[in-house]
Symmetry: C2
Subunit: 582 residues, 2 copies
C-alpha cells in the first residue's frame, strides 16, 4: 500500500498516528541538521521533517538528494508543528519521517508548479501533464467534473435518458466543414464526425424516447478563432410533445439549479427578450445585462439639422457611459481611435459630455443646440456626469460597433463582475439570414428549425422577416445554449430545404432518412444544446475555456504535447484507398 | 401544453379528472358505435374510448380515420373501465375522449411495433427509429442510461474525476488499425481516433489527477467479428499510487455495487484465478464458472497404452458431461461432428459412458480397461450417469476446442442462467504473446503493461514466461474488464519497446511524449477499462450488445439507416489534400 492518508487530510487530531504518505516534492528547505519537505498530491500539501536527532542518518542523507517533483513515499509519525501555518488545512501538523523511498526521480521541470505562472501558453501546452499539477488547472478540471455530475443528476431526475449517438456518421456539406474519416471496408467512402447529434436526437424523438440528453463531443473543421476548439463538448437535449415554453422552463430550471448548487446564487425567473429587442437595445443577440448602457436610437432627434453624417445614416445610435463626462480630451480621442480600429471599424464617433451643471458639451455643437442634446441624453438615459457616445452608419454595422464599444467600456469600468450571474433568454430569432458571400439565405440556427406558423406566408415574399421558434440562453454576455422547436412534418421540411436552395435530390441524398422518418408518426419536438466548455468556464468565473479542457489544441488545431496531427505511412493510406494530393 | 399526464400514469384514483394525453396509436378497435384506441408513449399505454352517445360526432368520425402510429392529442375525462386489464398499470381506467387532434399521420410502418418481432435485423436497423419504439429496445437504452448513472455516481463518490480526453489524437501503428482523419490545416497530416485513451490517462496520472475515469467512445478499424462494433464505449479508469490489490478492490466494489443496485444480487469476495490455472482448468482465459465441467488432464493416465493418438499428443484432456451417459450413439456422433466442424477443428473425440452400475463403456475399450477408465472418471470428476469427452492434440488448440465444447454443452444443458452472476478475477496474464504471423512477440495487453519485477530477468531468456501485473474481470464467461499496473519509468518502458521490436527512433516518434513525461516524476499507477456495451448487455441478461446501442453499425461497418459511410465531393477531398486511390 503506497499510502495510508492523502497529503490533504491530516489534522491536529491525528497527532501520534503512524502514517504512510506518497506524493511529489513541492519544495525542500535544508538547514543542515534539519530538512523540511513540502509533500504534494491532488489533495493538498503536508510538511515532512527530517531531523538529525530523530531521523535515521541514512534517511536524512537520502532526503538531501531530493529535488523538485521527485515522487517519494514516506513513513513516519504525525507530530505537532512548532510554527503553525494557518493558510493550509494541514498546517497544524508535520510528519517526522523515519522511512523514505524514492519512487521516481525528476529532472528539472520546464515549468514552475505553482499557482501563479508566467510560463507561456506554448510551453504549458507542450508539458500539459506538468501544467495539470498546478492547482488552477487541476481545480478547473475537477470543477468541470462536478458540473457534469450535477447536469446529469438534474436531467436524469427530470426523466431524461442519456443516449449515446454515433461518432462515425455521414458528411453533410451544409453548415460548417466536417472532419471526415475514410472507410477501409467501404472503398472510396467516408464517414464524418458529427458537428452535433442533431438528426440523431430528432430520430430518437421519432423513436418515442421522449426526453433525451447527452454530454457529447462535437467536431467542426473551421479556422479557429481565439478560444475555439476543433473538438468541443455539448450538453445536447431534446424533448417530444413540447412547445417552446416547456423547453425554456426545463432548461431555465437546469441553469438555476447549477447556479444554486455550484455557485450558491439564487436567481428567480430569467428575463426574456426578443432577438429584435436585443439587437435594438444592445446591438447584439447575446447581451450582457449585468450593466446598463442601453442603446438610444437618435435618428428622429438628429436628422433635422445640417449634420450630413447623421442625415445620410441608416441608424444613429448612442450609449451613456457612466461618469464619462470627466474623461479628458486625450482619453476621448483614445476611445475614438479604439472604435476606428479595423477590428471595430467605425468611421468616427460623436460624443456629448453631460456636465454636472446640467449643460452639454459635444463634438457637434456647431449643429446641435442644448435642447437637441438634452433630447439625446433622455434617449440614451444619460445623467449629469455621463458621456454620450454616438455612432452612425448602416444598421447592422453600427450596432455591432457600438456593442463592441459598450463591452469594452464595461470591462474598463469593471462592470463585468465574474461572480455576478445575469441569465437571459433571447427568443424569436429570424429563421434565415442573408449570406453576402453566397448571395442566398442560410438557416440561422439549422435547417430543422421550425418557422413560426404565423410567419410561414412570408417565406416567399420577405424571407428575412420570418421568425423561428428559436431561442438562446445568454449568460453574462455569452451564448451558453441555443435551440429551437423543430419541423416535424415532411412537407414543411421539404419547403424549408427548398428555401435553403437544396434541390429535392440533394435534400433526399443528405437527409432522406430524416424525411422518411417524418412519415411514420413524428411527434412535435424541440430541444437545446449548451456549450459545455463555455458554461463550465463562466460558472468557474472565467471567460476562456482552455484551462477547463484537459488537453486542448492550439489555434492551428495541433496538440503540441503529443505532436498531432502527424504523417501517416503510405501503406496505411493505401489500405484506405486514398493518397496525398499536395 | 401537449399533455397533462403521460400514458403510463393514470390510475383509479384519477377517475373524474379532466386530462390531456399525447402519443402514438398502438391499435384501434372499431365496434361501430364505439371505438377503443390504445394510446402509447414512452411511459405506457392508456385506453381511449370514443362513444357515439357520449363523444361529439365529429370527434368519433375523426377517430375512425386513425391508423397505426398516428400521433394524436386527446382531451377527455378519466373513467372507470368496464373490463379491467390487470396486465398494465393503467388497466383500471380509460379516457372518454371529447377532443381529438391529429398531430401527425403515419403511413403503414414497415416493422411491427410490438415486443415480439420476427422482422429481420436489416429492416429493423434501416428503420431503427421505429425499432426503438418497441419496448425491448427502448427499455435496453433506458437500462443503459441507468447503469451509466450508477457507474458515475459510484466512481465520483470514490473520488474519481471524469476527465474528457481528446478524440483527435495521433496514429500509432501498434495494436489494431486506427481510423484516421485528414487535417485540413496541417497539410498532408492526419489525426487518429483513439483506440482507447490509454496514454492520456497515464499522462493524467503524471499530472497528479490521482483517480481518473471516463465513459468514453473508442474506435477500432477491424474486420468485424459478430457482435463487435467499430465504435464502442469503455468505462476507462486509472489510479496513481496503487498496487494491483488496490485496483482489484475498488473495481470489485464497483461491480458488486452494480450487481446489488441494479440486479439486487449480493455477491461476496470475487474468486481469483491465475491465467495459467484458468487455461488449465477451463481452456480459456475468461471461464464461465457458473457451472463445473472442469478440465481433467489425462496425459499421465492415458499415455502408457497402445493408443497412438494419445501417446503422441501434447495434451490429453477431458470433461465430464452431467447426465451424458444417457446420450444415444446418434447423439454422441453428432457431438463428435460438432467438435470436428472447421470452427472448432478437433480431429475426433474419445468418449466414456459412466454407467449407473459403476461400469464404463468407451470408444477406446480396445486400449483401456475398466481400471484405466475409472482413473479418467476420477480426473474429470465424472459420476455415474455422466459422459466423459476427451480431446487430444497440441495444448493450445486442444484447450480451445474442449472449451468450445464445454460452452456448447452448457448452453444445451441450460447451465448458463442469465439471472445468475458469477464474477471472477483472472490475474497474472503473460506479458507477451507469440504472434505466428509476424513471428515476433506482441504485448498481450499493451506496451505500457508492467512486467512482474521478479520475472524481468526472463525477458531475455524466456520472454513467453514473463508474467505481467495484468488482470481481467470476467463475468459469466465474458471479459468485462481488463487492466494492468503500468510501467512508470523511462528505462523499463524503453526496455519494453525494445522487446516489442521498436527501434529507439520508432518508440521516440510514437511515444516520445510519454517517455518524456516519465522523466518528470511519474507516480506508480495502474488502471482498468470495462467494455460498457457488453457490461450493460450482461447485466441486462443478454449476450448480444446490439440492442443496447441506439444506432449500431452492421458487420460491414455501415449505418444502414443514414446510409453511411458515403461518397464525398472531390472539392472537399481537395481541400483536405487527399484524393481517392481505388
Amino acid at each position: 500500500m503506497y499510502r495510508s492518508h492523502s497529503c490533504g487530510e491530516l489534522r491536529a487530531s491525528d497527532i501520534k498516528k503512524e502514517v504512510t504518505l506518497s506524493g511529489w516534492v513541492q519544495k525542500t528547505r535544508d538547514k543542515g541538521f534539519m530538512i523540511w519537505v513540502d509533500l504534494r498530491d491532488r489533495y493538498g500539501i503536508t510538511q515532512l521533517i527530517f531531523d538529525e536527532e530523530r531521523t535515521p542518518a541514512p534517511v536524512v542523507k537520502k532526503a538531501k538528494t531530493l529535488g523538485r517533483e521527485f515522487v517519494i513515499q514516506v513513513k513516519g509519525s504525525v507530530i505537532e508543528r512548532e510554527s503553525k501555518n494557518q493558510n493550509i488545512p494541514t498546517g497544524e501538523i508535520e510528519i517526522l519521517v523515519n522511512e523514505l523511498t524514492i519512487l521516481n526521480e525528476s529532472i528539472v521541470p520546464p515549468i514552475i508548479i505553482e499557482d501563479q505562472t508566467d510560463d507561456g501558453e506554448d510551453i504549458r501546452m507542450k508539458y500539459r501533464y506538468l501544467d495539470i499539477r498546478r492547482n488552477p488547472v487541476k481545480n478547473s478540471l475537477i470543477f468541470r467534473h462536478q458540473v457534469g455530475m450535477q447536469v446529469r443528476n438534474y436531467l436524469s431526475n427530470e426523466g431524461f435518458i442519456e443516449v449515446e449517438t454515433p461518432y462515425l456518421i455521414k458528411s453533410t456539406p451544409e453548415g460548417a466543414r466536417d472532419f471526415i474519416v475514410p472507410s477501409r471496408m467501404n472503398e472510396g467512402q467516408f464517414y464524418a464526425l458529427p458537428q452535433s447529434p442533431q438528426t440523431f436526437k430528432q430520430l430518437l424523438m421519432v423513436g418515442g424516447m421522449d426526453k433525451y440528453f447527452q454530454i457529447v463531443k462535437c467536431f467542426r473543421d473551421e479556422d479557429l478563432r481565439a478560444d475555439r476548439q476543433p473538438e468541443f463538448t455539448q450538453i445536447d437535449c431534446e424533448m417530444a410533445f413540447v412547445e417552446q415554453e416547456d423547453i425554456l422552463n426545463i432548461f431555465e430550471g437546469l441553469t438555476r439549479y447549477l447556479l444554486s448548487e455550484i455557485k450558491g446564487v439564487n436567481i428567480g425567473d430569467f428575463p426574456r427578450m426578443t432577438y429584435e429587442e436585443a439587437m435594438r437595445t444592445y446591438g447584439n443577440d447575446k447581451p450582457d445585462i449585468r450593466f446598463g448602457m442601453k442603446f438610444g436610437e437618435l435618428n428622429d432627434i438628429t436628422q433635422h439639422k445640417e449634420f450630413n453624417v447623421f442625415n445620410t445614416a441608416e441608424l444613429v445610435v448612442g450609449i451613456a457611459v457612466p461618469g464619462g463626462a470627466s474623461y479628458t480630451r486625450k482619453e476621448i480621442d483614445k476611445l475614438i481611435d479604439w472604435v476606428k480600429r479595423p477590428q471595430v471599424g467605425a468611421l468616427g464617433m460623436v460624443y456629448v459630455k453631460c456636465n454636472e451643471d446640467g449643460t452639454y458639451k459635444s463634438s457637434v455643437d456647431k449643429f446641435y443646440d442644448q435642447d437637441d442634446l438634452a433630447k439625446w441624453a433622455e434617449a440614451t438615459g444619460a445623467k449629469a456626469g455621463d458621456l454620450i457616445c454616438v455612432l452612425s452608419g448602416s444598421t447592422n454595422k453600427v450596432r455591432a460597433q457600438l456593442s463592441a464599444l459598450r463591452m469594452e467600456l464595461a470591462e474598463r469600468l469593471e462592470l463585468r463582475n465574474p461572480e455576478e450571474f445575469a441569465p437571459l433568454w433571447v427568443v424569436d430569432f429570424p429563421l434565415l439570414e442573408w449570406d453576402e458571400e453566397t448571395e442566398r439565405y442560410h438557416a440561422m440556427h439549422h435547417p430543422f428549425t421550425s418557422p413560426k406558423p404565423e410567419d410561414i406566408a412570408l417565406l416567399d415574399t420577405k424571407p428575412g422577416d420570418v421568425r423561428a421558434n428559436a431561442y438562446d440562453l445568454v449568460l453574462n454576455g455569452n451564448e451558453i445554449g441555443g435551440g429551437s422547436i423543430r419541423i416535424h412534418n415532411k412537407e414543411t421540411q421539404a419547403l424549408m430545404f427548398n428555401h435553403l436552395g437544396f434541390t429535392p435530390e440533394e435534400a433526399r441524398a443528405q437527409f432522406g432518412f430524416l424525411m422518411d422518418a417524418f412519415q411514420y408518426g413524428a411527434p412535435p419536438h424541440g430541444g437545446i444544446a449548451f456549450g459545455f466548455d463555455r458554461l463550465v468556464a463562466i460558472l468557474g468565473g472565467q471567460e476562456t475555456i482552455r484551462d477547463f479542457i484537459a488537453f486542448p489544441k492550439n489555434n492551428s488545431g495541433r496538440d503540441i504535447m503529443i505532436d498531432a496531427p502527424s504523417n501517416i505511412d503510405n501503406e496505411q493510406l493505401k489500405e484506405l484507398n486514398i493518397k496525398l494530393d499536395l
